[in-house]
C-alpha cells in the first residue's frame, strides 16, 4: 500500500507583482512524519505556510493539505489542521481552563468532548495546580507547551508549528520536542520551522528554502552526506551562502 501523504505540493507559487516569494516548490509530507521547513529570513517560508494553511491563495501550482485543495477547499483545510506560532499563542487574560474551553468551542467540539479533552490535557501537562490561573501569568515555556496541546485539541491530521521554541529555555525546549515526538508517534504529522539547527536534526526530513525555491530536501543524515559536513548548521550555512 502506498504511504499516505498529508501534504502534496506541485510547483506551488506565490508572486507579488514580478517578485516570486515562493517559486514552484514541490514536495510531499507523509502521515506521522516530522517535517522541518527551514530557510533564511525572507526565503519565503511564511508565504508558503500561509498558502498551505488556507489563508493565502497561490498564484499557480497545485497543493492539497489533509486531502483538501488549497484553492477550493480552504475552509476545510482550516478545520483539519492545527497551528501555533511563537507570536499567536493563547489569550493571556483567560485562565488555562478557559483557553482550552474557548478553543475547543472554536474547533466545534461538543461540550462533553471539550470536558474530556480538557481534563486529559491538564493531567498530561501536570497543570492541575494552575488550571485556574491566567495564562498571562505563566512562564513562556508553559505557554508554548499549552499552546501546542491546544493546537491538537481537535485531533488534526497535521499541525503547523512556526518557530515554536524561540526564546524558550533549553530544558523546556527539549520537553517541547518530546511532546512533538509523542504526537508524531500517535500519527499526527508535524510541519515545523525553527532557527535552532539542532532541532533540524530531530526531524525525519528537512527542506531548506533559498530565495523562494526548495534547494535541498532529505533526511538530516543524507543531507549531511550530500554536503559532506557534520551538522545541519553547516548544511544550512553552505546552502544559504553559496
Amino acid at each position: 500500500m502506498k504511504e499516505e501523504n498529508v501534504i502534496e505540493a506541485e510547483e506551488l507559487t506565490k508572486a507579488f507583482g514580478d517578485f516570486k516569494a515562493v517559486n514552484a516548490i514541490s514536495f510531499e509530507v507523509k502521515k506521522g512524519e516530522i517535517f522541518g521547513f527551514l530557510g533564511a529570513n525572507g526565503a519565503g517560508k511564511t508565504t508558503a505556510i500561509k498558502m498551505l494553511i488556507g489563508i493565502s491563495k497561490p498564484s499557480s501550482g497545485q497543493a492539497t493539505v489533509a486531502g483538501f485543495d488549497v484553492y477550493t477547499q480552504r475552509e476545510s483545510i482550516k478545520k483539519n489542521i492545527g497551528y501555533m506560532s511563537q507570536k499567536f499563542a493563547l489569550y493571556d487574560d483567560l485562565t488555562v481552563k478557559e483557553n482550552i474551553t474557548f478553543f475547543g468551542g472554536i474547533y466545534g467540539l461538543s461540550r462533553a468532548k471539550i470536558k474530556e479533552k480538557r481534563e486529559q490535557l491538564i493531567s498530561e501537562l501536570g497543570l492541575e495546580d494552575i488550571s485556574n490561573k491566567l495564562v498571562g501569568s505563566l512562564p513562556l515555556g508553559w505557554k508554548q507547551k499549552l499552546s501546542f496541546s491546544v493546537s491538537l485539541l481537535h485531533d488534526p491530521k497535521i499541525v503547523f508549528l512556526d518557530e515554536p521554541t524561540g526564546g524558550v529555555d533549553p530544558i523546556t525546549r527539549r520537553q517541547f520536542w518530546e511532546m512533538i515526538y509523542k504526537a508524531a508517534d500517535r500519527g499526527t504529522t508535524i510541519f515545523v520551522t525553527t532557527h535552532y539547527m539542532d532541532e533540524a536534526e530531530y526531524c525525519d526530513r528537512v527542506s531548506i528554502m533559498v530565495e523562494g525555491k526548495i534547494e535541498a530536501l532529505d533526511t538530516p543524515k543524507k543531507l549531511k552526506e550530500q554536503f559532506k559536513v557534520d551538522s545541519m548548521n553547516d548544511v544550512f550555512l553552505k546552502l544559504a551562502r553559496e
Binding site: 529570513n41 525572507g42 524561540g166 524558550v168 529555555d169 530544558i171 527539549r174 550555512l237 551562502r241
Partner: protein, 300 residues
Amino acid sequence: MSITLNHISKSYKKLKAVQDISFNVEPGELFGLIGPDGAGKTTIFRIITTLLIPDAGTASVAGFDVIKDYQAIRNTVGYMPGRFSLYQDLTVEENLTFFATIFGTTIAENYDLIEDIYVQIEPFKDRRAGKLSGGMKQKLALCCALIHKPKVLFLDEPTSGVDPVSRKEFWEMLKRLQQKGITILVSTPYMDEAALCDRIALIQDGKILEIDAPEAIVNKFPKKIYNVGADNMYKLIRTLQGYEHLYSVFPFGEFVHYTDKRDSFEAADLKSYLKNAGLTDISIEATQPNIEDAFMELAK
C-alpha cells in the same frame, strides 16, 4: 571596570525580574548575558542604560553612576534594544543623520566605525526604515547605535528570530567592533552564541547561575556525557527514561546526551538494555559537554 553591577534587584509588582545580580565587564571585553525569555536580561539593560531605576543595588558604566550621572552615560553608550526602535517613516539615511545630529556629530566624522556595516545597506539609503527586511533593519539599528562612537555598546537580543547565516554575519561584525576597542554587552537566548563571547553570565528567573569564560563553564560540568543514538529517537528517550541508572537524558541533534548516576559506567550494559527494548542501530560514544548541558545542569 567598564560595567559594574553590585547587588542589583528590580521587581515589577510581585514579579522579581532581577534578584541581587552582580557582575563586572572589563574594558574591551565581549560579555554575553545568556538566558531564555523572562530571565531578566532586558531589565538589566534598561537599568544600565539609565532607563529604569533599580529597587536596590548600585551600577556604573564607564565610571559613571547609573543614577547620579545618567546624562553622561547616555552620551557614552550605544544601545540597540530588542525591539526595532528607529523611525519607520524616515529613510535609512535620515535615521542615521538624525542620530548623529542628536549626539552632536556627523556621519562623516565616525564613518570608519560603521563603514563595513553601512555599505551593506547603502544601496537602500533612500528607503524608509519601515520597509526594510529584518536583517537590514538590524544593520541600520547597529549603525545608529554606533554613530557617536560609544565606549560601551549594549545589544539586547540582536539575533533573536534571525536565521543562522545572518546570525553568523552579525557575530563577525561584533568581533570587528570589539577589535576597535569597544566594550560590548550582548544578550542572547541562543546558547551556541555563548562560545563566541570572552565571558558569559548564564541567567534564569532573574538570578545568575554562573559567570565565567564559556570553556571554563563547560569544563566544570560534573558528569561524563555520552552520545547515544538509535533507530527511533522517541522510543530511545522513553526507554532511557526507564533505565535505573539514568541521571539525565536530553535530545541533542541526531543523538541524545546521556549521563549516568554511577561513577563506573558500562556502555555494554546500556547497549544490551536498549537492545532488549527492541531498539536497533544503537551507538554509545563519550562526548564533550557544551553550554546547553551546563545551563541545564545548573538550572536544575
